[in-house]
Symmetry: C2
Subunit: 604 residues, 2 copies
Amino acid sequence: MSNKYIDLSTLKYLLYDIHKLEDLLDRERFNDHNKESLDMFLNSTKDFADRELFPFIKEMDENPAHHRDGQVFVHKQVETMMKKGGELGFISASFDYDVGGMQIPLMAHTAAIYILDAANNHLPGYAGLTQGAAELIIHFANKNLIKTFTPNMLSGKWGGTMCLTEPQAGSSLSDIVTKANPTDKGYYNISGQKIFISGGDNQYAENIVHLLIARVEGAPKGTKGISLFIVPKNRISNDGSLVSNDVNSVADFQKMGQKGYCTTHLSFGDKGDCQGWLVGEENKGLSYMFLMMNAARIAVGRGASAIASAAYYASLQYANERPQGRKLSSEGKKNIEQNQSLIIEHPDVRRMLMFQKSVVEGSMSLVLLAAKYYDLENTAKSPEEKSKYNTLLEMIIPVVKTYPSEAGALSVNNGLQVLGGYGFCSDFILQQYYRDIRISSIYEGTTGIQSQDLLGRKITMNNGEGLKLLSTEIIKVISKANEFPELESYANILSHKLKLSEKVLNSLMPYALKGDFEKYLADATIFMEFFSLIIVAWNWLEIGINSQSELNGGKKKYSDIFYESKIETMKYFFDYELPKTTSQAEILMNPSSVTIKKDKEIII
Amino acid sequence: MSNKYIDLSTLKYLLYDIHKLEDLLDRERFNDHNKESLDMFLNSTKDFADRELFPFIKEMDENPAHHRDGQVFVHKQVETMMKKGGELGFISASFDYDVGGMQIPLMAHTAAIYILDAANNHLPGYAGLTQGAAELIIHFANKNLIKTFTPNMLSGKWGGTMCLTEPQAGSSLSDIVTKANPTDKGYYNISGQKIFISGGDNQYAENIVHLLIARVEGAPKGTKGISLFIVPKNRISNDGSLVSNDVNSVADFQKMGQKGYCTTHLSFGDKGDCQGWLVGEENKGLSYMFLMMNAARIAVGRGASAIASAAYYASLQYANERPQGRKLSSEGKKNIEQNQSLIIEHPDVRRMLMFQKSVVEGSMSLVLLAAKYYDLENTAKSPEEKSKYNTLLEMIIPVVKTYPSEAGALSVNNGLQVLGGYGFCSDFILQQYYRDIRISSIYEGTTGIQSQDLLGRKITMNNGEGLKLLSTEIIKVISKANEFPELESYANILSHKLKLSEKVLNSLMPYALKGDFEKYLADATIFMEFFSLIIVAWNWLEIGINSQSELNGGKKKYSDIFYESKIETMKYFFDYELPKTTSQAEILMNPSSVTIKKDKEIII
C-alpha cells in the first residue's frame, strides 16, 4: 500500500500561490492568522491523518458500520475523529470566536479536511455533519438552543446530522411527510421516518443532535411548508442528565463503499415521545437548510477529489515499481534481450496517470476556489462585493460538487486499470477507492439534480448576469496567459471554448423562452460535462501561468520539475480532456429529442 | 430484485433476424440442426438459468470462493453448473460429434452462454474454461491424451483451466519462467508458479486439467520458447485411480467482484513430482494458445454485455416503479398538486436507460456477429471464404472484447445512478453488477493491450486489406439504409464517420512508416474508443434497417413497439454516442505527444 495519499506541496501551492490565501488574511475576521499559523494547522492535520486516519482505511472497509439491538456500531476511530478531531478544531475552526471557533478561512479549513478525506474518507464526515448541524443552530436558532447544544457538538462529544430524506420522497423534498405537532411547552412532537442519515448513530457519542425537516400540521404543501427542528437523540432533563428522546435507529444501510461511515434509518416518535425544537420560524426550514447547501456541496467535491488523490498516488507508486513489457523498437518489435520496462514508461499507462493527475489537481484547485469565493462573500466589505462573490460561488457550485465526483470516479477507474489484475484484488487499495468514491455522484443532490441546477437555475439567474461575471473572470486569465508565448495557444483554445459555450446556450435558450423546459433541460447533464471541462481548463490555465512565470524567473519556492509537471499536466488537460467539449457541443446543439417521452413508451 | 435479466426476444431477433443464424444451417457441419432445435436449446438454457443460476447471484457475492487448508472452496452451484451444465451440453455443444459434441454453431452456443452469463456471471466461466482447455487438447494433443482427458471434461466431471500468468510477468508472456524438464518416460517435470487462474481449484471437481505454458530448458528466449502442457491436478495411475500430481493451491485471490468465480494461485512441483504432457510440439505453445484466443475474447465480451443486460433490466424495473419528482410546467415550475411522476418519465433518467439499452443490445449484436464470423470461417467452402471471415473476425475481435467491457461498465454505472442512493446499497443488485463487470476490461488482455492489437496489428495487417474488407461490409449496410428515407440521414452520418476514420489513420500512419511506433500507438486506446463507436453504429444501423423494413410491411414476428424501440435506440446511439468520435478524432490527430516520456519524469 502506498504511503502517500496527498501531495502537501501541491495543496499548499494551490492554496497560497494560485488562490492567494494570504490576500484573505487582511480581512478583519482573519486578522489573527498568518501563513505560519495556517501552515502549522495544515501540518498538524497531516500528522493526525497519518497517525489516526490513514492506517485504518482498510480495516474500516472490512468492518462496516452496522446495526445491532437498536444501536449502530462503528469503528473505534470514529471516536478519535470526533474527540481528538474536535480538540484540534476540525469541527469548529471556521466558526466565530464567540461560539468557540477559531475564525480561520473556509479555504484553510477545506484544505485541512481535504487531507483527512484523502487519508480516510470514512471518517471526516462524522465531524463535517456535526459542524454543519452546529452551524445551522448558530445561524438560525435562539440563544438558549445554541447554548444547550453547540458546545458539546464543537468539542466532538456530541454528533450532529442532517435529516432530510424520507423513503417515499428521495430527492423530492416537497414530498416529505414527517410531522411536527406544536405543544404549549415550547417543543413540537415529532413523528416520521428518515433514511440515508449519514453519521446517524454510533456507540461512542453521548448524544446526537439531528437537524430535521418536517411539516407542521396545516403548513402549505410543497417546499414552502417545511420547518426545521433540532431533535436530539437524548434530551436534557431539568437536572442536566440525558434522557431518551424516542429517536430510534431502525437499521444501518449496508453499502458498496464508504462502509465505515454509517448510513442510518431513523424512526422518530415511535412511542409518541419525541420532542423537537423549532429553528427560526415555521415554514422557513428549507431556506435555512439551503444556506448550508453550498458548504455541503463543496464538502462532497472535496471528498471526491481527495479519494481520487489517494488513488492517484497508489497507482503512481505501482507504476513506478512494476516492470512489465518493453519499449517498441523502430521495427515495432519488442527486444527480449532488454530488461522489462517499468510500466510508467508506457504511453498508455502515462495517459492514465496524467488523466488522474489532471483530475486530482484540477478538482483540488476548483474546490479551493469555491471556498475562497465563500470566504470573500462572507467577509465582503460592501454589498456589491458580497453579491459578486455570492454569484460566482452560486455559478460554480454545481460544478464543484459534480466534476470531482464524476471525473474523480473515472480517474480512480483508470488508477485501478494501471494495476491490471491486481487492481481488482482486495489486497490492493484501488478497488476500495473505486467503491468508496462512487457515492459522491449521489450525495447532496445527484449529478442529474446538480445539472438541472446549473442549466435551469444558475445559467439563467438574473438574465445571465452570473454567467457574464464568471466569463469575465475566465477572460482575465486568458488575457494573462496571452502574455506568455508558451501559453498563447492554450489561451486561444480556452477563448474558443468560451465562445462555443455561448453558441451552445444560444441554441438551447429558445426552448426555455418558449416554455419548453423539458427540452431545455433534457441534456442538462451533458451541459454539465461540457461546462465543467471549461471551468477546470480555466483553473489549469491559471496554474500554467503561475508555473511558467516561476520558471521564467520567479522565486521558485518549488523545484523546476514541480512547475514543469504542472505545465505538462495542463497540456494533457487541453490535449485530451478539453477536446471532449467539441462532441458535447454537437450533442447539445442537436435538435433531436430522442430522450423525451412521446406518446408510446419505447424504453422496454 | 428484478426477475428479468435478459430479453430473450431481442436475443433471438439478433440471432435469427439480424445475423441470420438459419443461413448457417445449410452448412454440412450444422445440417442436423434447425431453428426449432436451436430454439429448444435456448429455451432450456433459459429454464436452467432461471432455476439454477439467477437465484444464487447474491449468495455467491456474499460467500466468496476462498482458500482453506490447501483447497479452494466454492459455492455449491459450481457443481450444478459443471455437472448438469455438462449434461445439457454447455461444455461440448459446439464440438465435433466424434469427440462427443453436438456440432451446434458457435453463434447458438454464444447466445446460450450469454443467457447464463446474464443470469449469474460467477458461474459460466467454470464450464467455459473447461471447454477451452478441452478444445486445445482436441486440436493439438495426441489421441491418447484426448482419450485420457477430454471425456470427463466434456461431461463436467473434471474442470479445466488455462495457466498463463506468472507473478513477475503479468501480460508479458515472453517473460514466463515456469520450467518443464523432459524425462524419458514420456512426460515432463513441471515446476513454477501461476497466478490469477480462473476456476483453478474447487472441492467438487474430481480432477482439474490445467493447460499450462512453460519453458523447456534451452528453449529460445521470449515467446518463441514457450511450450504447452497438460498438467492435471491428479494424474491417472496404471490401475485407473487418481493420484496427486503435486499441483498445489497456494491461495485464492479475494476480489472486488465476481467473487464466486475463484481466482487461484497455483504452485506446480513443490515436491518435485509434478508431471506434464506436451501438447503438440515444443516451442509452439503460444501459437496453440492463440488459436483459442479469439473464442476467449468473444467470451469476455459476451460476459460483459450480459452483465450490462442484467443491470439494464434491474434499473429499468426500478425506473418503472419509483415515483419521484414532477414534470416541469411551461413556467419551469413543479406543480405540487400533481402526483409524483415515475422516474422513467424524466429525460435525464431516460437518457441513462437508453444509453444502457444501446450498449446492451449493440454489444449483444457485436458478440453474435463475431461468433458468426467464427462459424463462417470454420465451415468455409473455399480458402478465399475462410480467409475472408478469418480476416473480418481478426479485425473486430479487439472491439468485441473491449467495447462490451468498457461501455458495459459505464452502462452499469448509469444503471446504478438511476437508483440514486439505493443504487449504492447492498440490498439492490446494481452495486454488485458494478463490481462484477469491472474485471472485463482486464481479463484476456487489458483494454490497453487490445488497443495495441487493434491499431498496431489489425489495422496494418496485409497493408490494410483487413480494414478495406471490413469497410466494404459497413458500406453495404450504409447503401441498404439509403433505400429507406427514414434512415438516410443516419446512413450519411455513418458514411461520414467512415471517412473520418480514414482521415485519422492517414494522420497516424506516417509515424508507423518512419518507425516511431511509440507515437503511432500512444493513443491506441483513444483509437479503440473511436473505432468501437463506428463498429457498433454499423450494427445499430443494420438493426434499424430490419426494424424499419418490418414496420413498413414485413411479417412482423414481433410487436410494432418492439421495432420502434429498436429504431429509437439506434437514434439514441447516433445522437448521443457516435458524436463522441468527433472529439476522439480531434485528439487522435493532435500532433502533441504529452503522454510520451521525454528526458525528465514529470509524472510526480
